[in-house]
């Protein structure tokens, strides 16, 4: 047996009755929602790109044995580089240099790295693979490049692989007598990191102790040996001063302190006007669309005078009529909002996968998280629903106060 009639049946019937006009209204709402959502999506994605770029800048300084400088090489056209990892070097220091570095004012983070060896591992790569040890707990240089965050902190027997290393996540990798599990993969860095694997320092010492791993011509690796300490400077500190202080703090050990030569400042400046631009466009569209939607709502109310008069003659109270007009507008706004958000999400994803957003925004576009997308969609829906309800307030008020006798007799006059 069918259900009894309810207000929703009634509202839906009203909407179905004028498909053309209601489609146009839905389109208006969809356009507004799409604009707000896209704007927020692009702003958030671009900001994430910059944030990630900054976190991926790695260390501000690398503190290494003085011989290290002869291995210094650049990764970009201007010989600029971001310090992500130490370079393959046989010169090592003991990890207690970190005690000294930690005492220097302005140092906010530091993490040791150890180059173990370069191995031919055909199962992993056609090129020789650099093997590094690092401390996952203090690391701030390697893990920001992870394509997907690790499910748990890197455990013993687990490794992180560079972009060009073969093997799926969770698959096993055999190096000498040890079997490791691939726990994470890095994004491309366009540097030697792409062809490297990273394991915990304790695993690195165990592997280094295995015969045939470390070049017999190089000094052996003992626990506590490291090749370099990556150092990050606290925000607001003068990098030159902190670098000089690190140098001065090592009077008896000969170390070198190498600073990075790459900055994201120009990129940040390029996109700093983006939020303002996109938000301004959204505001202009909302302001321009509001009277249009209000006009449509007023037209609908006028057109339905007779219907409203009939409802009142049947006993509909003012608040019922008011609610019906508002509810119809809200319904159209919600439908339009959902369509707008979904359509723009699909379009933005297509543009992103085609790389178009990267070239337009001049940065590597990072898709916002699902939570962020959810809140942006919520914001867009909230705005269109607010517009819908506010725009129909006056027509709803007028309609609800309409005299039923006049409404029935004067329709269309």
């Amino acid at each position: 047996m069918k259900k009894e009639i309810n207000y929703l049946t009634f509202i839906m019937a009203g909407i179905r009755n004028k498909p053309g006009r209601n489609l146009a209204t839905i389109f208006c709402f969809a356009f507004i929602a799409a604009n707000i959502f896209s704007g927020q999506y692009l702003i958030s994605g671009a900001m994430r790109s910059v944030d990630q770029g900054i976190t991926r800048m790695g260390a501000d300084y690398i503190v290494a044995p003085v011989e290290y400088s002869v291995f210094l090489r650049g990764s970009g056209p201007d010989n600029t580089f971001a310090i992500v990892n130490t370079l393959p070097s046989i010169y090592r220091v003991k990890n207690n240099i970190m005690d000294t570095i930690g005492n220097v004012q302005g140092v906010s983070a530091m993490s040791p790295q150890l180059y173990v060896s370069t191995l031919n591992l055909p199962a992993l790569s056609s090129s020789p693979v650099d093997v590094f040890g690092f401390d996952p707990k203090t690391d701030f240089a390697i893990q920001p490049w992870l394509r997907q965050p690790l499910k748990h902190p890197l455990d013993q027997g687990e490794i992180i692989v560079g972009h060009q290393i073969n093997g799926e996540i969770s698959s096993k990798v055999q190096i000498s007598k040890y079997t490791y599990t691939i726990a994470g993969r890095l994004d491309p860095t366009q540097s030697g990191v792409d062809n490297s694997i990273f394991l915990r320092l304790d695993d690195a010492y165990n592997l280094a102790a295995t015969e045939g791993i470390v070049n017999p011509l190089a000094p052996g690796i003992s626990p506590g040996d490291i090749n370099a300490v990556l150092v990050r400077i606290a925000p607001g500190e003068n990098p030159d001063t902190v670098g000089a202080n690190i140098r001065r703090s090592f009077s008896r050990i000969q170390i070198t302190v190498i600073g990075r030569h790459f900055t994201l400042d120009p990129v940040s400046k390029d996109i700093e006007g983006l939020p303002l631009l996109l938000n301004s466009i959204s505001v202009i569209i909302v302001v321009a669309a509001f009277p249009l939607i209000a006009l449509i709502a007023a037209m609908v109310a006028h057109e339905r005078q007779r219907e409203i008069g009939l409802l009142k003659s049947m006993g509909a109270k003012k608040n019922v009529i008011f609610s019906l007009v508002i509810a119809e507008s809200l319904f159209l706004a919600a439908i339009g909002g959902i369509i707008g958000v979904v359509a723009s999400l699909i379009t933005l994803n297509i543009l992103n996968t085609q790389g178009i957003l990267n070239s337009v925004l001049l940065v590597t576009f990072r898709m916002p998280s699902l939570t962020e997308i959810g809140s942006m969609a919520g914001l867009a829906l909230l705005v269109v629903i607010l517009i819908g309800s506010v725009a129909s307030l006056w027509p709803a008020y007028q309609t609800s106060r309409m005299n039923p006798y006049d409404a029935i007799r004067n329709e269309g006059k």
Binding site: K2, I5, A13, N17, S313, G315, K317, K318, Y405
Partner: protein, 243 residues
């Protein structure tokens, strides 16, 4: 019981004042079939609008079951309309966007929920003779069918008063006869009916008839415009073109 005392309705525009209803007095006892007869513009529809609470009188008092509706708030009048008054318009008055059955059920939205309204709507459709059109949309109905559905809708909340404003004005003679018979049947079953018409042929249907002229209620027994019919007499007119 309806009591109308000294009711006047004046419409004012910038340069014009029209006294549509002028100092009207009358009473309607429960179970009566009141016919208000008059020419177009005589004020009968305005009077009906005031009886239904759709218009407020400029002066005077209208009491329905003892309640003076002239001074009730809009919401109270709406409540009263939903419970106590069924209205049948000259035009079909059906909502084009919903089916016949849904049209009949619309007034139940404005009354306190009573279970079984759908069943009652189906019974009413059967009673008015259009039970086969329950799922049809109004645009597919004939004028007579529309009127029958409108009557069923007016009765769905079980009103004590049925008001009809020229309900046969747009119908052919045969259909007019059928609709008037339906009204008579409803009246015999106890529904109080107040109907206005400009058609003198319908006067015999009323158990009590009033005439309106230029906003005034005229009751002149014996005059051509006033006929009082005794209930129970088979004095309704037959369609002139029937064999």
């Amino acid at each position: 019981m309806i009591e109308v005392s000294g009711v006047t309705k004046t419409f004012r525009t910038d340069c014009l004042e029209i006294q549509a209803v002028d100092d009207v007095h009358f009473a309607v006892q429960p179970g009566k079939f009141i016919l208000i007869f008059g020419r177009s513009g005589s004020g009968k529809s305005t009077l009906l609008g005031m009886l239904a609470g759709l218009l407020r009188p400029t002066k005077g008092e209208i009491r329905i079951n003892g309640v003076d509706i002239s001074n009730l708030s809009d919401d109270k009048i709406s409540e009263l309309r939903a419970k106590e008054i069924g209205f049948v318009f000259q035009f079909s008055g059906l909502l084009p966007t919903v089916t016949v059955l849904e049209n009949i059920l619309v007034p139940t939205l404005f009354c306190k929920k009573s279970p079984g309204s759908r069943l009652r709507a189906l019974e009413l459709l059967k009673k008015v003779g259009v039970s086969d059109r329950a799922d049809a949309y109004p645009c597919t109905l004939s004028s007579g069918e529309m009127k029958r559905v409108a009557i069923a809708r007016a009765l769905i909340n079980g009103p004590s008063l049925l008001i009809a404003d020229e309900p046969t004005g747009d119908l052919d003679v045969d259909t007019e006869y059928e609709i008037m018979e339906l009204f008579r049947q409803l009246n015999r079953e106890g529904t109080t009916i107040v109907m206005v018409t400009h058609n003198p042929d319908l006067i015999p249907y009323g158990t009590q008839t009033y005439c309106m002229e230029r906003g005034k209620m005229v009751e002149k027994p014996g005059s051509s415009s006033f006929i009082k019919c005794e209930p129970g007499l088979d004095n309704h007119p037959k369609p002139k073109d029937l064999p």
